[in-house]
Symmetry: D2
Subunit: 485 residues, 4 copies
């Protein structure tokens, strides 16, 4: 399979985006638009659950929001003024539809829908115990653990049962829940995954990123705080903080790659952070060259920053197909040897005979970098220097980011010199971890109490990894795996 | 909507057919063929779950077995030597796929699949209690109650938990269950719904009707007894009878209409019973006529019996389209007034000027009978006499048969004279209840302890109707209804 | 592939059914219903073309009328008060949609749609000449030859051009054509294929069989005569007979098998002819037996006739699945050895230990007969006698009937004794050719000038077989075959 | 309908892309990849015809190349070492598949497939005459005229017939034809539409743009000359020039917008031309501002040129959704008032309080420009200046480019001042016609004999517009329109 999908390759990527709205005449329509703006956070499935005061309505589909949630017919089936939605990165197999969120359960207190961004790192352990007590799981999703903990909690009120459930889970979660009483949005005590709130007329909105507000012209109010539960009921918003206070550790990779450049994440413009990383790179690892060339599209802001700081002209030396985003299955083995270039093409007339600096956001396996360097050389580039707008990615993420197993990470086994040999560039440099912290506005990384979760670079995980310790990574997955396919 | 579907009209019909096989290299393929032979018991959805010694594999689909379970690709996904399958009459709405059986649950003891023919008449009451204790239901099916009772039972072994569950349910059930240990087939203590066992080489088979054995050339061994659990484990079969002995009450309507004429139900040929009913009818309600004409196809055996006993020639006066079984949506209101005859057509050259006796199996609403009488008159019949091969259907069934609400049953509100007026025949007669019992080989109905469940004719229900008493029919359904659509 | 399709086996079958209506507000809806009633004449594709006074509208689809032409949405796209329709037996390959009729062409005189039942036996020769002169064919259909002859005719008026075209073609054709001026229905000078006309209110109808009138309650007026063109224009009907008078030779097999039993073909009830053939058989080839058993469904009328004449009881010894008409692909080779019986099942309880006479309409390859005899023996029949309601089928048809090549016809190479050995019956007999003529109401076959086309029995073809002589059967087809697939 | 499709809005766009390959083991696979690289030239349908030495194979589909021509199954049906392919912009209606190219005809000389980029401006006139002589058209495509002219030509050899046909047509055409003898590529005498030839191993390739060679690593050899026919037969290439020599007039808009920036069109890098247009704009219409911001993506090269010449920093002030290319149907009227921004979002953190220069390639209706200016103002921009990298588009194109009718072109009725008022910018300027000619490397436009076709800017059409004069635009289309829909 050749692919033109910009995300289906050598990148880490976010596993989910979530959206919720309470109190709008167009709840499902606005949710569909919000999810479309969050599509980069999860492209393989989407779902919406709404509540109309009497009944819940649900629709889930494999594929993009466009094509599944963009017709009036569909939106009309999702009646009511409250709705939650979810986009999901990866589900496999025919029966995977039941893993598509929002999950829904019919509890004794009534219907309950939940949309989750993050990952519960003790889900396997909790599931095992719940099944032993008679709970029957519908999905293989870690999120369902929260629902069963809630259903079997000994507390009385739904809110107490929900908090009881959250106190038992470890890991990262931004959640938006829809009940017959209202909406609950919350973020884990460390605030690993983002969650913002906004306003559109009288309605309250929640989303993973501010771009989901921009698309409908809603006002961005503030980020939901780590450890905060925001409850919307009958148009009123209140906030409770049931957890012990902790130092927050939001994910720094949201700035490097996950979030859209036009989003504001925890108070900072993603575009300006990325440009600042490019400036740091130009200062830390300068190079004598004719052109600064971005690896499209995610390398572009850092390339602009690098070009402005270095004074080397910014040029488009790689042209990306407009038709990315669609998988293109290779038509036969016969053409594999041709080195087919579906996604990127060199702007040969520009780069021929020139010394170039390529700017990319990260290196995961290194295979794409190797191909791009090669493509530049084939087009006649005299020198190819690679500059990376993040530190080397050395560790797996257990908080809702799809990472290859550690052994596949180029930086896990190799130093920068060896990595350069692998990708066959003339030189290779990464921004330093302190350079990255400077770009997000901190003086440097606080080693004792880091301001961000940067475990993928440092291996410094902010929570216990219970399932990982108990079962190992492989076992965790097989534990959760559907026994029925 | 006009329809050519022979079942989608004025008939009671069975809601399910079930099939299971343990110990065959072709388990899923044989199950698909068996389900195809049982298609008349449920035409709207089908499913198969198999177990390959390590993993369960499941596939469910809306629609017929043909088209969904007849490709090698599909069968190949259903690996293993044990499999259970199910055909289902009626599910509504887009999300109904999760109601399609066999249901599957991942219990602490491992995977558990269940296929059910019948209806649990206290399902609503049990579900309410289970949800209150924290169980989360995946479907709106009454069958799921059995799984949750099993999952939360305080007994230790799976078999004890299963029996514990069964002892709490009321109503009619023939079940085939697949576990990682083997297969369990059982029939409720009254034996309301049929269940037979067979053998194909080394493999053991279970099915609703013997025709499912004929299709693959399997040997019919015997009926599963009312109240019996047959357990197949590692090629060995054993039988346990955990319930207090009761007088059995198999459904007599299986002989009248539900089962295929080539099936052997509880030891008797369905074809010969239907012919015998026709003979009883000819003796009880003779008529002077030129031709005996069956209402195709279910009235044919009784018509042959009637013709042979009366000496009146059997002729095909109504031709049924070969293309029944497919729904034909009426192309526009404009043709509605034309009295479109998609399913049946009069053999005008035959019936013109003749006195005819029509033989049908039953009258439910009476609307079809009215149309057929009218069609015969339009074709020039001189006299049209109607003879029905069952007693008047006066009561709803709560044991897995789709019946209109009582008020829609023509016989619930009208005597035979009034019914004749409604259908506009020259005369109308039904076989007597004792005539029906004589046709199935009993001298007459034992009023104290009836040999069959004949509640639809007599109102004499063999079990309590807990949900019905508690919620009323409407409430029972809304209780079970998905709150999320 | 196993199949439950009642036609996809050992039968000759008709290749087309046609329908037309002029002057109805519901033209397309009535056409859809008429085609549904003619579905047995062609089950693989269907099409309708309508004219609304300004524009022609067309829709063609692979598959049945039901499912393709039964929604209001579809019918609404086929506006206008005149419409023609077509059902087609066999088209192969993905691009075959362009062979689906009615064919349409945009001529200098305006739009022209044509629906054809029959076969042009010099189509290959004509096509070759037309292509040489610059005509470009859209399809591989023999029918398209008529359109190009018409388009390039040197005559002036459309009607003259049409007659000019017809005078050049040989073979069998019943045609219904739609132009912007009106409708033309015509039948070849021998009247090989049937065509009838009817009336529904003010509208005029044409169809292959009268059942297409019954379905909408239209009145059957008369058959179109061999060699007659019926022209409907502005509500007026007129008739012209441009061909030299010939002795008519309608296809006798329409009575044996093709037409529905409830149709009136050339003035005679098909049902009564089939019963009469059974009576002839009972007189010509009596047998001592317990039961007369029809091979369902086409053998039933002859079986009733045989039973009434012989005094042997008529019984259902073979039960046909209700779910015929759908193809059931065999789920894997693994079950092939099981002798799967999807379509027919023996009524074992009836036939066990009995001597039976099976009545079927014809034997083509003999493979089905062999299986059915075997099925009866497996069910315990003591003796199995086969009686066939047509003479042996010894020759191919070139007039629009799908026949296997001659070498596949059992009767082409074997006498009756050998055929009996092949099908393994206790005895085998066919109705005589004179018996068949008696059943259709003739004293006997007029050897000098046969009253019917009976070439499949006698090899006496009523027209030259130009392509057959020129190219041979194989070459004819490769000539027409699409060079592009 | 809201849309994220980058082409389905306020742009002119190319109607077709063509590709051919002769002499490759992977002909169809390479064609699919080449068409994918040309997808921007036609996104609504695609087709491939191949020839395997004996048979032609064809496949056409509505939609993108990806999804229709990217599976081995599909490619395997397109056997042979020669293939031609086509992508098409616009076809409407259900029956439009027959308009999808390559068109194919079965001529007396054998199969003939043709792929066409351009438009025959006397097609209606020629078609009328051909139909009068008996030709029957399969499509409403202007291209089919060429085939019928060829089929009915009085010349003997296929090549002579083809040249005879071309000499009768007017307008623009780049053609690739596949016959059983080989491949013919040709370009009209003016060379309006581009066509290039390349080599991949022993195989010869033809394509609309060089990017189609890059995707498979083929070598770009040269452009096909205006008026040249290149014939590939048995691996040999020869060239003939049957037309009288004319001054060439290639389309200048290929440089402005249609072609990909990484293509070489008629010897010049499209990227460098676009940058040079930006430089001309900066010189001709400078402005005092903080940032130069491209309207993504087509405005980017000109924006880089403008920024480098003006010294104003290049920044991403508008973020385009990655999910462009998919249509997003608006979920309901209810959200229309929200001013939904699916395709573009302002980078508010950047532009707030700043003076910006927006660079776009062209203005057609002006509606998109108005929205983008408004979006920048909503995001807080202090000043918004618009600079356009082409002269005002004042005239329709009749040579294969989809243009709105003239009355919809903003520049057709308004001067630049009025246009600025319409789009509500602080200033608006277009590059001059001479600036554009300088950017493509000419000193200035040769008024007597222009070096390019620039009719959309100047109204100076290089060929007669016969249909336009004869029927008017509307009539031309209704003449070609299918009379059957």
């Amino acid at each position: 399979m050749l692919t033109t999908n910009p995300f289906d390759d050598d990148k880490l990527h976010e596993e989910c985006g979530i959206f919720g709205i309470a109190g709008s005449d167009s709840a499902a329509a606005v949710t569909a638009l919000g999810l479309h703006a969050l599509q980069h956070r999860g492209q393989e499935a989407a779902g919406i659950v709404s509540f109309d005061g009497e009944e819940f309505h649900a629709r889930r589909a494999m594929g993009h929001v466009a094509g599944n949630f963009d017709s009036e017919d569909v939106i009309d089936t999702l009646g009511g003024s409250n709705a939650v939605g979810h986009v999901r990165y990866s589900t496999t197999g025919a029966s995977a539809l039941r893993n598509v969120q929002p999950l829904f359960a019919d509890l004794s207190s009534g219907g309950f829908a939940i949309a989750h961004n993050g990952n519960i790192s003790n889900a396997g352990t909790l599931r095992k115990a719940l099944v032993r007590r008679g709970s029957i799981f519908q999905s293989t999703s870690d999120t369902e653990v929260i629902i069963h903990l809630l259903a079997t909690s000994s507390y009385r009120s739904l809110l107490d049962r929900f908090i009881d459930a959250l106190k038992q889970v470890e890991g990262a979660y931004s959640l938006i829940c829809l009940t017959s009483e209202g909406m609950i949005a919350c973020r884990d005590p460390l605030g690993v995954r983002p969650l913002v709130m906004g306003k559109l007329g009288e309605a309250w909105l929640f989303a993973s990123e501010t771009v989901a507000f921009d698309v409908v012209g809603a006002e961005f109010v503030r980020a939901v705080d780590p450890g905060e539960l925001v409850i919307v009921q009958k148009g009123e918003v209140r906030s409770i903080r049931p957890f012990e206070q902790q130092h927050q550790r939001p994910c720094i990779f949201e700035h490097v790659y996950f979030s859209r450049p036009d989003s504001i994440v925890d108070g900072t413009s993603v575009y300006s952070v990325r440009k600042a990383i490019g400036e740091q790179l130009a200062l830390e690892s300068p190079v004598d060259a004719d052109y600064v060339i971005p690896v499209p599209d995610s390398g572009t802001p850092a390339a602009i920053g690098f070009a402005q700081t270095s004074g080397i002209p910014f040029e488009l030396g790689i042209i990306r197909s407009h038709y990315v985003g669609r998988t293109f299955i290779s038509p036969g083995d016969q053409v594999r040897h041709l080195g087919v270039k579906l996604k990127h093409n060199a702007n040969r007339a520009l780069v021929e005979g020139r010394r170039i600096v390529l700017i990319d956001d990260s290196i995961v396996r290194g295979t794409t970098s190797l191909k791009i360097v090669q493509m530049m050389r084939d087009a006649g580039a005299a020198e190819v220097h690679m500059r990376i707008a993040s530190p080397p990615t050395r560790h797996s993420c257990f908080y809702g980011v799809d990472t290859p197993e550690r052994s596949k990470l180029l930086a896990a086994k190799h130093d920068i010199q060896e990595m350069n040999t692998f990708i066959q560039a003339d030189s290779l440099a990464f921004v330093s971890i302190d350079g990255l912290y400077r770009a997000v506005g901190e003086g440097q990384r606080n080693m004792a109490q880091p301001q961000y979760c940067d475990a993928c670079f440092t291996g410094d995980y902010p929570t216990p990894l219970t399932d990982q310790d108990e079962f190992g990574l492989e076992n965790q997955f097989s534990l959760l795996a559907e026994r029925v396919n």
